[in-house]
């Protein structure tokens, strides 16, 4: 039996073996986790339990429960001044991952090119390829704090470039953009008539300035597919729930694919999400405060140890350089795991040309972070 060429040609993750090694090892201190170490706030979990008790176990409308979509647009209006219509500009998805996939499938024709910053989240390239598009990677590095510049985007807009994927705050680098920087990016987007798939799932975890949705600039609503979800801010990864807001035509297209492939997001998660929007922001704020402190601690320790690390503005990752060790990121990660039982993700996981960096997640207890930093220090000292 043969699998499809397109799937066969998807780059196998070179670090799969490393992941398996980590997953099977005991007593590891892990800084490799891409989800909050907080459990979902009790009020939200309680609502999910209640929903099951009340017999909410059916399908919902394809787009998601109207109550949830209304709660989302209402929330976006009050939080960011965004004006989306709950019925024809909003779709509930199974996590932002589904949203990303639907977005590229809804807009790409075979051969269309998509600009993707590198390093980036692991699925960006593959979903574009699966949708028949061609990823064009734009390199960012520690010198520019892993940010795309408007010039870089403009220069890359050659023939066939249809869209730009952007993720801020960014997994894996933690980089984010100020309002001013986004305004300049928005100008290029309009000038070059790009569709932007803007993955803002870490928006609540922005530390040094207020998060600004790209679609909040005048006129930008027509250019942006805005993706967000409940996983990171509300610590609801296992609920698998996200949403998309965007131009009516695109949402209609995405809904079409969604209805045939997913039908709808789980109703229990949707009920819990309504509760998250109603009462969860306080929990989000207290988690954010905790992350913020850990971020300062980890960056300060890494620089002390001698690993060059910029202060990321959001998410719960730092992305220090390990260039001075002269090791590849995969070797570094493997060796550190073997010798010191500290797990982290090698930078190369986030793009083939991303070498000399590691991703450290500080979604881990302070005790763990302290011990892990000590072990990395010892590892480097030998």
């Amino acid at each position: 039996m043969k699998i499809a060429k397109k799937v066969d040609q998807l780059k196998p993750s070179g670090i799969r073996a490393f992941f398996d090694l980590v997953l099977n090892m005991k007593d590891v201190i892990s800084l490799g986790v891409g989800e909050p170490d907080f459990v979902t706030p009790w009020g939200i979990r309680e609502k999910a339990i209640y929903s099951i008790e009340q017999g909410y176990t059916s399908y919902t409308s394809n787009k998601g429960m109207a109550e949830l979509r209304k709660a989302i647009v209402n929330f976006l209006y009050h939080r960011y001044g965004l004006n989306y219509h709950f019925d024809n500009e909003t779709l509930i998805t199974v996590g932002v991952s589904e949203g990303l996939d639907l977005a590229v499938r809804a807009i790409l024709n075979p051969g269309d090119k998509v600009l993707i910053p590198e390093p980036c989240y692991v699925s960006y390239g593959p979903v574009v390829e699966l949708a028949g598009g061609k990823p064009v990677f734009l390199k960012t590095d520690i010198k520019n704090e892993f940010k795309l510049s408007p010039k870089q985007i403009e220069k890359a807009c050659t023939k066939g470039v249809k869209a730009l994927m952007i993720n801020y705050p960014c997994n894996p680098t933690g980089a984010s953009y100020t309002k001013k920087e986004l305004r300049e990016i928005a100008k290029v987007v309009k000038k070059k008539n790009l569709i932007v798939i803007s993955d803002e799932v870490y928006d609540e975890l922005t530390y040094d300035f207020d998060h600004t949705p790209l679609s909040s600039f005048p006129g930008m609503k027509d250019y942006v597919i805005y993706l967000n979800g409940f996983s990171k801010g509300y610590a609801m990864t296992g609920f698998r729930l996200g949403w998309v807001c965007g131009p009516e035509k695109i949402i209609a297209g995405m809904t079409k694919i969604h209805q045939y492939t997913m039908l709808c997001a789980p109703i229990i998660s949707q009920m819990a999400a309504v509760e998250a929007l109603r009462s969860g922001l306080k929990d989000v704020q207290s988690m954010k405060k905790e992350y913020m402190r850990r971020r300062r601690f980890v960056v300060s320790r890494l620089n002390e140890i001698g690993l060059d690390c910029h202060m990321p503005q959001g998410a719960f990752y730092v992305f220090p350089s390990i260039k001075k060790t002269k090791q590849s990121s995969l070797n570094f990660a493997q060796d550190l795991l073997k010798k010191k039982k500290v797990a982290l993700v090698p930078g190369v996981a986030f793009g083939p040309s991303v070498e000399g960096y590691i991703r450290i997640s500080y979604a881990s207890s302070f005790e763990n972070l302290k011990e892990a930093m000590l072990r990395i220090e010892q590892y480097l000292a030998k």
């Binding site: 892990s30 170490d37 797990a343 993700v345």
Partner: protein, 161 residues
């Protein structure tokens, strides 16, 4: 609340140098601030939350909450009577309450007998104490924001994107 206090309230063992890294201040200014909090009585004490039900070598003890209705004293209100009551070492906590009674006491003793003795021989006979209602604690589930049962929560995967 101030960040230093917030951190220490959660874990009193975090060192000044670590607090400095967590908050982005210098270690010297953190040390100074802590000294001042201690001097001003804002930081009262550093202590450990212990689940005595699990600590086998700890002598058995009972705890009770006692509702106390008192007659306030002229000029000093409840404070004078409260002081006379909370000065007994048996009283672990003492709060002035709104509602149907005035003081809520938390008492600890080796057994029911010692607590009863305290109520009968010390508390009730006090001239301003009108009524007492004693409730013995049967089981502690959560104390000072800490759930005492060890969580069985399944660990996250060690590694994920």
């Amino acid at each position: 609340m101030n960040e230093i206090l917030e951190i220490l309230e959660k874990d009193a063992r975090v060192s000044p140098v670590e607090i400095a890294k967590l908050t982005g201040q210098s270690a010297t200014s953190v040390k100074k601030a802590i000294k001042k909090y201690e001097k001003d009585g804002i930081i009262v004490k550093y202590k450990t939350v212990i689940n005595k039900d699990l600590a086998k070598d700890v002598n058995s003890f009972v705890r009770a909450l006692i509702e106390v209705s008192i007659t306030p004293q002229k000029d000093v209100g409840f404070d004078y009577v409260a002081e006379r009551i909370y000065s007994f070492p048996e009283v672990r906590s003492c709060y002035l309450m709104s509602g149907t009674y005035d003081l809520l006491l938390e008492i600890e003793g080796e057994n029911i007998q010692t607590v009863s003795n305290f109520v009968a021989s010390k508390l009730s006979p006090m001239p301003n104490v009108r009524v007492t209602v004693t409730h013995f604690l049967l089981k502690k589930y959560k104390e000072d924001g800490h759930v005492l049962k060890k969580s069985k929560r399944k660990q996250r995967l060690n590694i994920s994107y």
